[in-house]
């Protein structure tokens, strides 16, 4: 068994293989992970909107030992990841970290948020530091405005087109 604690280091190995095959291979995998995550999240997000997203990430905050601030207001949910355990483990690793490890988060979250008609703004800030800021808006125009403030804005396949 690869312990659940070490999943991210296994994930990192999968990413490195797929990156060698080409960008579309990575994107197809992230989409598969997104579909897998729908089982835990889609009904909740559809039913409760931002409040459902808050509930999901509050659960993740505890179970994945994240140093994460969550702020919910009427038109947006903000996740401020102060220390991301996923990237932290990949960096604290005897195997080489994938340089774009952070990209997978937008790769699976983006398509999911699109499906529930909300708008994701994903600021990775710096791929080498385990911190990021995610904002999810009800209103598309507010999301577009917020994108201007991002230091390193992360996209996902549909968002690129």
């Amino acid at each position: 068994m690869i312990p659940s604690d070490h999943f991210t280091r296994f994930y990192n190995e999968v990413f490195k293989f797929l990156e060698d095959q080409g960008e579309e291979h990575l994107e197809a995998y992230w989409l598969e992970i997104s579909k897998n995550q729908e089982k835990h999240t889609l009904a909740l997000f559809k039913e409760k909107g931002l409040k459902g997203m808050y509930e999901y990430w509050d659960h993740i905050r505890i179970e994945e030992n994240c140093d994460l601030d969550l702020n919910l207001d009427d038109d947006k949910l903000e996740l401020k990841m102060n220390v991301c355990p996923s990237l932290s483990k990949v960096l604290d690793n005897d195997a080489e970290p994938m340089k774009r490890y952070c990209d997978h988060c937008a790769g699976w979250i983006g398509p999911l948020i699109d499906k529930v008609d909300h708008h994701l703004v994903y600021d990775v800030i710096d791929r080498n530091k385990p911190q990021c800021v995610v904002k999810i808006f009800k209103d598309k125009e507010k999301a577009i405005e917020e994108e201007k403030n991002a230091k390193l804005l992360m996209r996902w396949p549909k968002k690129k087109k």
Partner: protein, 166 residues
């Protein structure tokens, strides 16, 4: 210079100490849903790239991610693997037993909570789910004086044995 030399010696002494901490010594809460993502990944990679590719990735996990345990096995310290097994099977609340002696260590997993969790999540567990154990173990033992044999005893049950090669 002398201090630096002593420090180096000290590090070497500690590296051979059986009480040395695990390289990855996770604590805190456990997110069992990651096993579901592992199951999805196994199915995705095998369907798209074939089983040899999946096995190669597991081998890289055994060789590179678990380099520290592999180095211990090379030096004859197989108890570090037992420590790893104990730490993580405890964290995941598996039902298991370990028999340890100088020549071999046998881990018997009576109820694998990773397998059971995936079954609860998705219904059908990949028929290759346990390959993560088999192939990672093989890579850990590769180019060492030891072999690790993984026997599947039934659903969510296996026996893993590390012993010197004949």
């Amino acid at each position: 210079m002398k201090l630096s030399l002593l420090e180096n010696l000290n590090i070497k002494v500690h590296k051979n100490n059986l009480d040395q901490k695990l390289r990855y010594n996770d604590g805190g809460n456990v997110h069992m849903d990651f096993h579901g993502a592992t199951n999805t990944t196994i199915e995705f990679i095998i369907n798209k790239y074939g089983i040899d590719t999946m096995n190669d990735i597991f081998k890289k996990v055994g060789k590179d991610v678990y380099k520290d345990i592999k180095d211990h096995i090379k030096k004859g310290n197989i108890k570090m693997l037992a420590k790893h097994w104990q730490h993580f099977f405890d964290r995941e609340k598996a039902d298991y037993s370990i028999s340890i002696n100088e020549e071999e260590i046998i881990l018997t997993v009576h109820r694998c909570t990773a397998y059971e969790h995936v079954k609860k999540l998705v219904g059908n567990v990949s028929s290759h789910f346990c390959d993560q154990t088999i192939k990672t173990n093989e890579a850990l033992a590769d180019n060492t004086p030891y072999e690790i044999k993984t026997e599947i005893l039934g659903e969510a049950a296996c026996r893993q044995t590390i012993r010197k090669r004949a």
